[in-house]
């Protein structure tokens, strides 16, 4: 029986912030940001990059930062000094709606297939590819839910490959007071 897909986010530090960073779509911008984090000793836990919806000149990075490796104001201040960084939205986890995508290929025989489908239904995951003895599963959800589902797969199946995107986030519409 599958365990409930919720719980703590052990893949991320307790004290983390989510930075949603709008950057100019210029050559080397990712390297500038990665270089800044490494030379100033700031830790990145995850990083997602995509073209910004609002304007093709920009991309949006969602960076999960360990707020214990450096004061978050210092991280934001140093990032802001990069000429290609246009805007930074700094969110505490309780101020953000966060989602992450997981893709996992697991080996499964006929016997285990029903249990797998059951746990997938419980988690809201779907099959995106399959062969005779393995399936590729997709799950999008909160980082905590994705963590829990990944743990479940690791405990019960032989995962062939697991890929996560790192989270994206937007400010919550009704943040805590």
């Amino acid at each position: 029986m599958a365990e409930p897909f919720s719980g703590t986010t052990e893949h991320t530090p307790v004290s983390h912030h989510i930075l949603s960073v709008l950057v100019e779509n210029k050559a080397g911008v990712l390297s500038r940001i990665a270089g800044l984090f490494s030379r100033r000793g700031f830790n990145i836990f995850s990083l997602a990059v995509a073209p910004a919806a609002e304007d093709q000149r920009f991309s949006r990075l969602t960076i999960v930062v360990d707020a214990e490796s450096a004061p978050i104001a210092q991280v934001v201040g140093q990032l802001n000094k990069l000429i290609n960084v246009v805007e930074i939205n700094d969110m505490r986890p309780d101020e953000a709606t966060e989602r992450e995508l997981l893709l996992a290929t697991v080996s499964v025989d006929d016997e285990g297939r029903a249990a797998l489908l059951n746990s997938m239904a419980h988690a809201g995951a779907s099959i995106v590819d399959f062969s005779a003895n393995s399936v590729t599963i997709s799950l999008s959800g909160t980082p905590a839910a994705v963590d829990a589902f990944e743990r479940h797969l690791e405990a019960n199946y032989a995962p062939v490959e697991v890929q996560r995107t790192g989270r994206v986030a937007l400010p919550r519409l009704n943040p805590p007071a």
């Binding site: 050559a27 080397g28 270089g35 030379r39 140093q78 000094k81 000429i83 290609n84 805007e87």
Partner: protein, 572 residues
């Protein structure tokens, strides 16, 4: 009219008002050197690219205008990395243009290829690789705008050879206002409410100190600083990067704080109830051990770089803005406030000043020269507006301590990076920017040997700088640390006094070489050097190797544990 990318680059530099380029040609930058022949811009041909970078820095520090250096790809570019790092640490507006291999060859390990934008990413405000010949005027305008505004700093433009050779229709560069840099908006004016609160905190402070850093000079704010100090009556300390921002002879001046600052400046900060930091960054050389630094002080921190606020020390009031403008606003607001009575504070400060002045023991008959005495003689016998440019080490500290700086931009040195070898090329750059003034490079024998070859440049290009080598035949500052902290176990610090023969070396480079061993010869040599204006002069002052820089806050110690000169210690 169609022109080449190379011509476009030179026209773009002319459009930014560049009057001089320090550089050295090579393969990838070769096309750019052709239109230089027809340009109004003066080109100074250096002997090593590091020299070009430091000259551009000396020029920028002396004039306030951006320094420009032009070098080729690969080793040409890597040779100028040290000056770029130096400019980044000391916030010097520096525009470096590097040649690059042709666009199609980038990434193939081509001859003299190196990823200079990657290498300099962490030590420039920004850098650009030009990929379209039509971008040249805009990129150059952006480069000058970024280098000179906000917190100034170095920028680098990497310029592939094929771009230089491509033809393009010339289009005038955009003005700074027209540039499209959505992520770059320096904030110049401080928040009015914070300024009011800061002025109030200053008025009521009983033991305040104005802690002034290099930012006040970058902001051309020395006048505003004087007004603020005189309006409030608050004493001023000037850091290594701010010497000259406030006159040393002023009754409110306490001089330089920090590892080799004077006792009163250091201790005033330690005992202060309020530090007003104007364009300073709480550098470890100023704070000493951070937990023990100024434990009773509230902090007002004014800086144009928001990331400096709360980086090292939490500010009670942090004001983002141009140090000059905020200082001026603070002075205006302070004019209508009554300052609290600080007679007890001044009595304390005066007592420290009387008890612990900067001091050294003069040379006795037959002893080697005292380096501090040489600095004092240089200061006393050179014109009042002389520019001093130092290398890094003991001589730098003595030059910062024992020369009394009365006007801004008369003291230039490598502070944050501590780049040995800065003095000779730095002095040459300063002299190019201020040709009518006397420029003395004060150097050590170790530093001098790192960049001395640029005296050839100075002679050939007609730049008559004067260099005083305080020759103690040691890497003196390292020797001092080994003496004090490594039980006098001297490891790899002895340089030998007579090899090279500095007089012959100077003369081989077309300069006048003078050697001084005896105290009575010091002043005549200085006067002789100051009278020579058709070529560089090098004076080899043979100084006492056992002389150490005091006061000193040992590395890792609290500023409360400052070690004063032996003659001022208990029982001395």
């Amino acid at each position: 009219m169609k022109i080449t990318g190379a011509q476009s680059l030179i026209k773009s530099l002319e459009a930014q008002g560049v009057e001089v380029i320090f550089g050295l040609p090579g393969g990838a930058i070769l096309p750019v050197y052709d239109p230089i022949i027809d340009s109004t811009i003066r080109h100074i041909l250096v002997r090593h690219e590091q020299g070009a970078g430091h000259m551009a820095e000396g020029y920028a520090q002396a004039t306030g205008r951006p320094g420009v250096a032009l070098v080729t790809s690969g080793p040409g570019a890597t040779n100028i990395v040290t000056p770029i790092s130096n400019a980044y640490m000391d916030s010097i507006p520096l525009v470096v243009i590097t040649g690059q291999v042709p666009t199609a060859a980038i990434g193939t390990d081509a001859f003299q290829e190196c990823d200079i934008t990657g290498i300099t990413q962490g030590i420039t405000k920004h850098n650009w690789l030009i990929t379209d010949v039509a971008d040249i005027p805009t990129v150059i305008a952006e480069a000058f705008y970024v280098a000179t505004t906000g917190r100034p700093g170095p920028v680098l433009v990497d310029f592939p050879k094929d771009i230089a050779q491509t033809e393009v229709e010339w289009v005038d560069p955009p003005s700074f206002d027209e540039l499209d840099l959505p992520g770059y908006k320096p904030q110049l004016d401080g928040d009015a409410e914070l300024i009011e609160a800061a002025a109030q905190m200053m008025a009521t402070a009983e033991r305040p100190v104005l802690y002034v850093g290099g930012g006040i000079l970058k902001a051309r704010g020395a006048g505003a600083l004087r007004t603020l100090a005189e309006t409030t009556g608050i004493p001023v300390v000037t850091t290594l990067m701010a010497r000259g921002a406030f006159p040393d002879s002023h009754e409110l001046c306490l001089g330089m704080p920090g590892m080799h600052g004077n006792y009163t400046a250091i201790t005033a900060m330690q005992e202060a109830d309020l530090l007003v930091s104007l364009g300073a960054r709480f550098d470890d050389r100023v704070t000493g051990k951070l937990d023990g630094f100024a434990p009773k002080a509230q902090i007002i921190h004014v800086d144009i770089d928001p990331a400096e606020l709360n980086k090292v020390r939490r500010a009670d009031i942090g004001i983002v803005g141009d140090a000059g403008r905020v200082t001026e606003a603070l002075a205006t607001v302070s004019a209508s406030k009554t300052q609290t009575d600080r007679s007890a504070w001044w009595a304390q400060l005066s007592e420290w000043q009387e008890r612990y002045p900067l001091t050294f023991e003069p040379a006795e008959e037959g002893q080697a020269l005292k380096p501090q005495a040489v600095i004092e003689a240089l200061a006393a016998h050179s014109p009042a507006d002389t520019i001093v440019v130092a290398g890094v080490g003991q001589h730098q500290m003595w030059a910062a301590q024992h020369w009394r700086y009365e006007t801004p931009y008369t003291w230039i040195n490598s502070g944050g990076a501590g780049t040995m070898g800065f003095a000779v090329p730095g002095a040459i750059g300063a002299k190019v920017g201020e040709p009518g003034r006397t420029v003395w490079g004060i150097d050590g024998d170790g530093c001098f040997q790192m960049t001395a070859q640029e005296l050839v440049t100075a002679r050939v290009e007609g730049i008559p700088v004067k260099i005083a080598i305080l020759n103690n035949s040691y890497l003196g500052m390292v020797r001092q640390w080994q003496e004090m902290f490594y039980e006098e176990r001297y490891s790899e610090v002895y340089l030998t006094p007579d090899v090279p023969n500095f007089v012959m070396l100077a003369e081989a480079m077309g300069c006048v070489g003078i050697r001084v061993d005896r105290p009575e010869d010091v002043i005549p040599a200085i006067e002789r050097a100051n009278a020579i204006n058709d070529r560089p002069v090098v004076i080899d002052f043979r100084t006492d190797a056992s002389e150490k820089v005091f006061p000193m806050v040992p590395a890792g110690a609290s500023n409360s544990d400052v070690v004063v000169h032996p003659t001022q210690r208990e029982g001395a």
